[in-house]
Amino acid sequence: MNRLDYTVARPAQSALTVNKVLKNTYMLLSATMLFSALMAAVSVVVQMPPMTYLLSAGGAMLLIWLVLPRTANSASGLWVVFAITGLLGFGLGPLLSYYLALPNGPQIVATAFGGTGVIFLGLSGYALTTRKDFSFMGGFLIAGLLMVLVVMLANIFLNIPALSLAISAIVIMIMSGFILYDTSRMVNGGETNYIMMTVSLYLNIYNIFISLLQILGAFSGDD
């Protein structure tokens, strides 16, 4: 009897844990998205210089590498998540100001924003409903990301616009893969820390938005 109770109770508890992680992750992700958008709006209004983007991204990366791993299992991790997403949102200000100044700028920004939302909801919804295990993609995605970073580094010096667009297109594909991978990790119990999960998903969305903005800006004929 005890053995039966154990086998019945264990999957139920596991499902409860997964549901809790999913609920907490999407709630925190929504809150950080709103906060990030607010910070981006502030940055646009006060017209921050282009250097802001670099400094904010650098600050956020330092928080992700040095502070987040030490705080992710405590309540203070929540403050760190808001600091990271706030910084990244604030850094978007100069980029948004640049695109908004284009003749069809508001349309480009709105399309990139809406498009990012559709891609995220579609992919995350697919992984959630099918409950497929996408863990086999991990090695391929991280190797692809590393290669893209190396090409990005080279293009800083080469300055080839077509290569820059190709990088943006590949980043969208890789981040889309990461959305499937991360969501499946949550669904299949591979990741139980909703703070780490929120940061991962936020970075996927953030990178898709920036890349989409660049592609739409270039093909609108005004970049």
């Binding site: 250097m51 670099l54 991204a57 498009g115 891609i119 991990g138 990301l145 739409l216």
Partner: protein, 60 residues
Amino acid sequence: MDWMKIGSAILIGAMILFLWPRAKQMMQESRKAEPGEWGSVLLILLAVAGFVVLLVMMVR
């Protein structure tokens, strides 16, 4: 070369250095795909690419 380029290069270089150990670990520990698994992923990514093309056509 301006400061933005130098700063960007430093940031991307740091990202590569930071990601390298994690990438090595993920590549070693990642499970092998079963037949058909990559096919479904490729279809999904193709749909994403098609959607991006649609968005580009919308802003042109």
